[in-house]
C-alpha cells in the first residue's frame, strides 16, 4: 500500500521507494528509506499534505511526493 493510504495515527514500515518517481531522490534524502518505521500524524484540511513522523522528526509531505513511498502495516 501507499503511504497516503494510511489513517491518521497508523504506524507502518517503508518497504520500497519508487526510484522512477521524480521526487524519489529528495524523499530518500529526507530519510524515507526502506525499513524505516513511519507514522501518519495528521492530514491537512484538504487531505493534503500529510504530516508524518520519521526518524524522530515531523515532516510535512505532499501526497504527490508520498506516492513513491510504499509501506506495509
Amino acid at each position: 500500500m501507499k503511504l497516503s493510504d494510511l489513517h491518521s495515527g497508523q504506524t507502518a514500515k517503508i518497504t520500497k521507494i519508487d526510484l522512477l518517481h521524480p521526487s524519489s531522490f529528495r524523499v530518500l534524502e529526507y530519510g524515507f528509506t526502506p525499513g524505516q518505521e513511519i507514522k501518519l500524524i495528521n492530514r491537512s484540511f484538504f487531505n493534503d499534505p500529510l504530516a508524518v513522523s520519521l526518524r524522530g522528526t515531523l515532516i510535512a509531505i505532499r501526497k504527490n511526493d508520498a506516492e513513491c513511498i510504499d509501506v506495509t502495516l
Partner: protein, 667 residues
C-alpha cells in the same frame, strides 16, 4: 567585511536547516544574526572573524542550510559549489558541521556525504538537552572513531563545549590551510547505502542513560526496541499539533492567527503612529516659528523634517509586523502555516513554501523576495516573486492612511475595516494574477519543474523574547537605513523642484490681504512656475483620464523612490505649513481645497481618491523591489514584465474605477 583578512584560514559552518548553525555562528563571532525556528532562515553567506577571546587567526563563514550535498535548485547549486571554493574567500581549511542529535540519523547524512567528498570535518553535536530529555545520550568518542573525524558536544546558547570546539579548530587548521575536497555524485542507491551505515552507527553510539548495565546488555541484543523509542518525536509537539494540524481546528486556528496578526498591525500601532506624527509636526513648526521665512527654513521644515517624518511615521507598524512574525517564526508555527496552505496555493501554481515570503511581503517586498529562495521549484519561485508586490507592504500604509482619512474623516473603525478590505483585495488579486501567469507560464516564466513539497516541521518552543526583540530591532534599523536616505533625498529633490527657479515670486501687494494670505499666494505662484510644473505638463495628458492633475502625477513619479514619498510629496505640492495640526490633518484640509487646474472643480473627489487607492494596490512603484527582483531572478525579463503588467493594470483599473463611479453619479 573589513575585518576579514583573505590570507587567514577559512572555517565554514555547514549544517541542515534548523540545526543551530547560525546560533553557533553568533556565539563565535559575537554578532546577532537572525536565528529562527523555520527551515531555511539563513539565505546568504555571512563572513566575519572570531571573537578575540578565542585567539583564532581565521575567518568564520556561515552558509545557508542544506539537507544534502546534492543541489536541488540553482541556489543550492551555488551554495554547495561555494563550500568547495568560495569565489571571494577561497577554499576552507575545515568545515564545522552541526548535527541536531534529536534528528541524529537525518542530519548525519550530510556529515557522511561531506566526509566522502574529502573535507576536513569537525562534527558539532547540538540540542543534546533534547535528546537527554528522551533519556538518550550520544557517545562522542565512539562516534568520532566511527566517522574518523573530531566530534564535540556543544550548546551554542550557553557556551558549553565551545572551548573544546575551538581547540579542535586550532588543531585542524594547523594541519592544513586548504581543503582538497572534490565534488562527488550521489545516486539513489548511494543515499540508501549511507543511511544503512548511519543506522549501524546510530545503534552503536546512542545509548539510554537511565538503564543499568544489565539492561543495556539485554537491549543490545534487541536493537530494534531502542531505535523505535529514540525515533519518537517530541511529545509536547505532537500534542500541540493534534490541535494545530487538525483537519478543522487547524484551519480555524490558522485563520484566527492570521486575523489577529493583521488586526494588531492596524489597531495597536495606530496610536503610536499618531504620536510620531505629531512629534515631527511640532518639530517642523518649531523651526518655522521665530525664524524668517526663507528658502533655508523652508528646506528644513518641509524638505528635511517633513521627509524624515514621512519615513518614521509608519515605523511602529513595521516594528509590530516584524515582532509578531518573529514570534510566529520562533515558535515553529510558520512551518505549519506553510503546510496548511500548500494545497490551496498549489492550485494557484504556487507552493506551501511561498507562504512565508508572501507573509513577509506585508512588511517589505525586499526581504520577501529574498526569502523566496527557499522555494526549490523554479517556476513556483518565479511566480511567488511575481506576485509579492501585490502583498500590501508597509510603505503603502501611510498612503492608504492619508487617502482614507480624506474619504472617511473621523471614522476610525470604518477606516480600519476598509483598510483590511484593501489588503484582502490585494491578496485576492494576487491569486487571480497568479492563475493567469501560471496558465501562460511558458510565455511569462519560461520555467517548468517537478512541483514538490517536503518540509520539516520543527519542534515547538516558547519564543525567546530577547531574540525576537533583537531581530525586530535589527529589521527596523535596517529598514530605516535603507529607506531613510532615499526618501530624504527625494524629499529634498521634490522640494527643490517645487521651490525653484521661481524661488522669490513677486505678488501684487494688495492692502486687504494679511500676511498668511500673501504667503499662500507666494507659495502657489512659486509652484505654478516651478520645474515640477514643467515636468507635470508632460504627464498631464496621462493624468486627465483618471481625473487627476500634474501635481498628483509628479507625486506618483516620485513614489518610484519609495511609495511613502507620495505623502510627503503631496504635502510639498499642496504646500502644507500645518501649524498646530498633524501632517495628515492639514494635508487632508489642503486636499479638500485643491481645485482642478484653475477651475472651481475639486481635484480630490470620492471617485478620484478611490481611484488612487486602486492605483496603489497594483502599481509597482518601488525601485528597490525592481532591483532585487532583477538580482534574484538573474535578469531583466521578470522585473520588466512586472513593471509593464502592473502599471498597465493599475492605470486601467484606476481609469475604470474613476469613470465607473462617475457614471454611477459618484463624483
Amino acid at each position: 567585511m573589513s575585518q576579514t583578512n583573505l590570507n587567514l584560514p577559512l572555517i565554514t559552518l555547514v549544517g541542515p536547516p534548523n540545526s543551530g548553525k547560525t546560533t553557533l555562528f553568533n556565539y563565535l563571532s559575537g554578532k546577532k544574526y537572525k536565528t529562527v525556528n523555520y527551515p531555511g532562515s539563513t539565505i546568504e553567506y555571512s563572513i566575519t572573524k572570531f571573537l578575540d577571546r578565542f585567539e583564532i587567526g581565521g575567518n568564520l563563514m556561515d552558509s545557508p542550510g542544506i539537507v544534502s550535498m546534492v543541489p536541488n535548485s540553482p541556489d543550492e547549486e551555488v551554495t554547495i559549489s561555494n563550500l568547495y571554493d568560495h569565489p571571494v574567500y577561497g577554499k576552507p581549511a575545515v568545515l564545522v558541521v552541526t548535527v541536531d542529535v534529536s534528528q541524529f540519523s537525518r542530519h548525519l547524512l550530510l556529515v557522511k556525504q561531506i566526509l566522502e567528498c574529502g573535507f576536513r570535518v569537525i562534527v558539532a553535536l547540538t540540542m543534546n538537552d533534547i535528546l537527554e530529555g528522551k533519556k538518550f545520550t550520544v557517545k562522542e568518542t565512539e562516534l568520532a572513531k566511527r566517522l574518523k573525524c573530531k566530534v564535540v558536544k556543544i550548546n551554542p546558547r550557553t557556551g558549553y563545549g565551545i572551548d573544546k570546539l575551538i581547540e579542535y579548530v586550532k588543531e585542524e587548521t594547523a594541519i592544513s590551510n586548504l581543503s582538497t575536497a572534490v565534488a562527488k555524485e550521489f545516486e539513489d542507491e548511494s543515499i540508501i547505502k549511507i543511511y544503512k551505515e548511519i543506522e549501524e552507527i546510530e545503534n552503536n553510539v546512542i545509548e539510554r542513560n537511565d538503564q543499568t548495565n544489565l539492561e543495556k546488555a539485554n537491549e543490545s541484543l534487541q536493537i530494534k526496541g531502542q531505535t523505535s523509542a529514540l525515533n519518537k518525536p517530541d511529545e509536547l509537539t505532537l500534542k500541540i499539533d493534534s490541535l494545530l494540524l487538525h483537519k478543522y481546528w487547524g484551519l480555524i486556528t490558522f485563520a484566527t492567527v492570521m486575523g489577529l496578526l493583521f488586526a494588531s498591525i492596524f489597531w495597536i500601532a495606530s496610536p503610536l503612529m499618531d504620536l510620531v506624527d505629531s512629534l515631527f509636526q511640532s518639530l517642523s513648526s518649531l523651526v518655522v516659528s521665530g525664524h524668517e521665512h526663507n528658502w533655508f527654513t523652508d528646506l528644513v521644515s518641509s524638505g528635511i523634517i517633513g521627509g524624515t517624518g514621512a519615513v518614521l511615521v509608519f515605523l511602529p507598524q513595521i516594528i509590530m509586523l516584524f515582532f509578531i512574525l518573529g514570534l510566529l517564526e520562533d515558535s515553529g508555527y510558520l512551518a505549519r502555516g506553510a503546510m496548511l496552505i500548500d494545497k490551496p496555493l498549489s492550485k494557484l501554481g504556487l507552493n506551501g513554501r511561498s507562504f512565508v515570503p508572501m507573509l513577509s511581503g506585508f512588511a517589505c517586498a525586499i526581504p520577501a523576495i529574498m526569502a523566496a529562495r527557499t522555494i526549490t521549484n523554479k517556476k513556483e519561485r518565479l511566480l511567488t516573486i511575481f506576485i509579492i508586490p501585490l502583498m500590501s507592504c508597509s510603505a503603502r500604509l501611510p498612503v492608504y492612511g492619508l487617502l482614507l482619512s480624506f474619504l472617511l474623516p473621523g471614522k476610525f473603525l470604518l477606516s480600519g475595516i476598509i483598510l483590511s478590505l484593501i489588503y484582502l483585495f490585494g491578496i485576492l488579486s494576487s491569486f487571480v494574477i497568479s492563475v493567469i501567469i501560471n496558465k501562460y507560464q511558458k510565455v511569462f516564466l519560461k520555467a517548468e519543474d517537478n512541483s514538490s513539497f517536503i518540509m520539516e516541521l520543527p519542534v515547538y518552543r516558547i519564543p525567546k523574547l530577547k531574540n525576537v526583540l533583537n531581530n525586530t530591532y535589527n529589521n527596523a534599523i535596517q529598514y530605516v537605513k535603507k529607506a531613510g536616505p532615499i526618501i530624504l533625498v527625494f524629499s529634498i529633490l521634490i522640494w527643490a523642484l517645487t521651490y525653484f527657479p521661481n524661488n522669490n515670486p513677486v505678488v501684487p501687494n494688495e492692502e486687504n490681504l494679511n500676511t498668511e494670505q500673501i504667503q499662500e499666494l507666494i507659495d502657489s505662484d512659486r509652484i505654478a512656475n516651478s520645474y515640477a510644473s514643467e515636468i507635470g505638463k508632460f504627464i498631464e495628458p496621462v493624468m486627465k483620464p483618471i481625473g487627476l492633475d500634474w501635481r498628483v502625477g509628479v507625486s506618483l513619479i516620485a513614489t518610484f523612490a519609495a511609495r511613502e514619498v507620495f505623502v510627503s510629496s503631496l504635502a510639498l505640492m499642496f504646500k502644507i505649513t500645518g501649524e498646530g495640526d498633524n501632517i495628515n490633518e492639514s494635508l487632508v484640509n489642503a486636499m479638500r481645497e485643491a481645485k482642478y487646474g484653475g477651475t472651481g472643480r475639486p481635484l480630490f473627489t470620492t471617485a478620484t481618491t478611490i481611484g488612487l487607492i486602486v492605483f496603489f494596490v497594483f502599481a509597482l512603484q518601488c525601485i528597490s523591489t525592481i532591483a532585487i527582483t532583477r538580482k534574484e531572478t538573474g535578469g531583466w525579463r521578470i522585473p520588466i514584465l512586472q513593471i509593464v503588467f502592473y502599471s498597465g493594470i493599475a492605470y486601467l483599473f484606476t481609469f475604470l474605477t474613476v469613470n465607473g463611479l462617475n457614471l454611477l453619479g459618484i463624483s
